[in-house]
């Protein structure tokens, strides 16, 4: 059973993706059916793309669906996997944490510039990147907590 925050995150991610697709359909229809190319669709599509991808990477994709190299993981003891999980997540989460302040500075700084057609501040375009880093910190902490509890340490064939 999915929790409601996960359902909400999925709904936003899927909604962004679907909107991206609809924007493209509008663009192609406008150009071919009405011979009226629209300037805003290209830009809107790219912004939606940045959002959909970074949002999904941060909040929608479960850890097991990511591309990983698991030859080592599958060939060591459970104890070693526990250590691997803790060290690895300390590294990912720690470095992501280190990256947040400067990334936010950059994103915030970009508020002064707007996109050419829609005039949307670039701060809003790049914001999901900071969200992604924050999500990485939280997810790493959660994974470490689980590893200490001995959860999620099974060796399995990745699909």
């Amino acid at each position: 059973m999915k929790t409601w925050p996960q359902k909400a995150a999925n709904a936003i991610g899927g909604g962004l993706f679907l909107t991206l697709f609809i924007v493209f359909v509008i663009q192609v229809t406008a150009r071919f059916a009405f011979n009226k190319p629209m300037a805003w669709t290209d830009e809107a599509a790219v912004i939606l793309y940045v959002w959909a991808i970074l949002w999904a990477a941060a909040f929608v994709v479960p850890e097991r669906e990511h591309v990983v190299f698991d030859l080592v993981w599958n060939s060591v003891s459970r104890r070693a996997r526990q250590v691997m999980q803790i060290v690895g997540n300390l590294m990912i989460g720690g470095l992501a944490l280190c990256g947040i302040p400067a990334s936010w500075d950059y994103v915030h700084f970009m508020a002064r510039e707007g996109t050419p057609v829609l005039g949307l501040s670039f701060m809003w375009v790049f914001l999901p990147f900071v969200l992604l880093l924050a999500a990485l910190v939280v997810r790493s902490a959660w994974a470490i907590w689980n590893a200490i509890q001995g959860v999620g340490l099974e060796a399995e064939l990745r699909i």
Binding site: N10, G13, G14, L16, F17, L18, L20, F21, F24, V25, Q27, V28, R31, D42, A45, V46, I47, Y49, V50, A52, I53, L54, A56, A57, V60, V61, E63, E65, H66, V67, V68, F69, D70, L71, V72, W73, M84, Q85, G88, M91, I92, L95, A96, C98, G99, P101, A102, S103, D105, Y106, V107, F109, V125, F126, F129, V130, L136, L157, R158, I159
Partner: protein, 432 residues
């Protein structure tokens, strides 16, 4: 090697060995690099943000993923299967031949090998397993091998990504995949025919003539798509990105309106699945933006080019070396990492030696496909095992014929660039 690069490689390799997601390992290794170099760490946001924002052509990737997922959910594969059964079902080993032909048709609309195995591949495996003459291993091997057609026959997701990395034309790359793709299919059918005759595999039952019109009508609709796509892209009527959207829309109309095989519930499932799939691919891409920034700042591709230059390799020797490198690295790394990390390093050397970028790109993609079907890191083997439960060992025992055939074709394409370049050049690529 500077301390910056050292820490970058340490974090990257460390993260991968510890089974952290490869995309995230790449991303944070970039952060570590910037910290050691005492550069502004905000560059990571700038590189990834701008990298995604400025890569318009990349938008084709989620849309092609979407198109393939809709087709798979909307029974498009089953329709193509029935259609192909009329065409080649009556020969020996008919189902295996049908599988290859279905893959050819499906490849003309989808650009992903995984989608090919999960969609039409699964449909034909189920049929083959009903007949004792087809062993599990053989059924799996045929499906895995024919799935590699997906990204060779246009459209192609890896080719779109390669175009972004190299600056080569997407249209020319797509056309460059046509002849090799059909050659592959033809050779695979040859291999199947050889085995089928030796083992006396069954022919399919005749389909009554009165059922033909309906089957042909439903099967021919998807066939119109590749022509629209390629024609549209190459004539400049629409961009590859728009073509991807058209493909997805076409698949949606077929699945929802013509075949009435898509409920709202499955549609939403397809949307979520496509969102996740696109995010996974794109995260590796985002990580590679950061990685390539560091490599370029450290002059790695130039150093590589100088090194290759100092060996005084001929074009052929260089390409052979790349092939060997891909085969070896493909045993350890996911093919997307090879494409996004190693190919950018090799491109300056390739340009220096005067290798045609379209030729190089199609070779790289075929190399990637071979990487997908040989163990221990053959993603297609994993997917097929996960979907059908056929053990990887059994598939490999039957699959080596196809692997060998693909390697021979790769060699032929390395020595004879015309196999790749003839069609794009005939259509005006590279004309001065």
């Amino acid at each position: 090697m500077t301390s910056g690069i050292l820490i970058l490689v340490l974090v990257l390799v460390g993260g991968m060995l510890l089974r952290m997601p490869i995309g995230f390992s790449m991303l944070v290794s970039g952060i570590a690099y910037l910290m050691v170099k005492r550069q502004d760490v905000g560059l990571v946001a700038e590189q990834v943000g701008n990298g995604l924002y400025n890569s318009y052509v990349l938008l084709a990737v989620p849309l092609f993923v979407f198109a393939a997922n809709i087709m798979n959910a909307g029974t498009v594969s089953e329709r193509i299967f029935d259609f192909c059964r009329i065409l080649v079902g009556r020969v020996r080993g008919g189902l295996a031949q049908v599988d290859i032909l279905v893959s050819v048709v499906f490849s003309g609309m989808s650009g992903s090998a995984i989608a090919d195995a999960a969609g039409p591949g699964l449909v034909t495996i189920r049929q083959m397993l009903k007949k004792p003459e087809y062993t599990r291993g053989f059924a799996g091997a045929v499906v895995v091998a024919s799935a590699t057609l997906g990204p060779i026959i246009p459209p192609s997701i890896p080719m779109v990504i390669y175009a972004l990395v190299s600056g080569a034309s997407v249209g020319a790359l797509f056309l460059g995949g046509v002849v090799p793709g059909f050659l592959m299919a033809f050779l695979m059918m040859g291999v199947v025919h050889f085995i089928a005759t030796k083992r006396d595999m069954p022919r399919e039952d005749k389909i009554p003539l009165r059922e033909w019109p309906a089957i042909i009508f439903r099967g021919a609709l998807p066939l119109s798509m590749p022509i629209v796509l390629l024609g549209g892209i190459y004539s400049g009527a629409f961009t590859p990105t728009e073509a991807a959207a058209v493909a997805a829309f076409h698949a949606l109309i077929l699945a929802a309106v013509v075949y009435r095989a898509l409920t709202w519930r499955t549609f939403w499932g397809v949307v979520l699945e496509s969102t996740r799939g696109s995010a996974v691919i794109t995260m590796i891409l985002a990580g590679s933006f950061m990685l390539n920034y560091a490599f370029t700042a450290e002059g790695v591709p130039q150093a590589m080019a100088m090194w290759v230059d100092s060996m005084h390799l001929s074009q052929i020797k260089f390409l052979l070396l790349v092939n060997v490198m891909f085969l070896v690295l493909g045993c350890f790394l996911d093919v997307s990492v090879l494409l996004l990390v190693f190919v950018p390093m090799l491109l300056p050397a390739a340009k220096l030696l005067g290798v045609d970028l379209v030729h190089f790109g199609v070779l790289v993609v075929l190399n990637m496909m071979i990487g997908l079907i040989h163990p221990p890191f053959g993603m297609l083997l994993f997917v097929t095992k996960a979907l059908t439960g056929i053990p990887i060992g059994e598939m490999m025992k039957e699959g080596w014929h196809f692997l060998l055939m693909l390697l021979l074709l790769l060699l032929a394409m390395t020595f004879f660039p015309q196999i790749v370049l003839w069609l794009p050049q005939t259509m005006g690529y590279g004309a001065k």
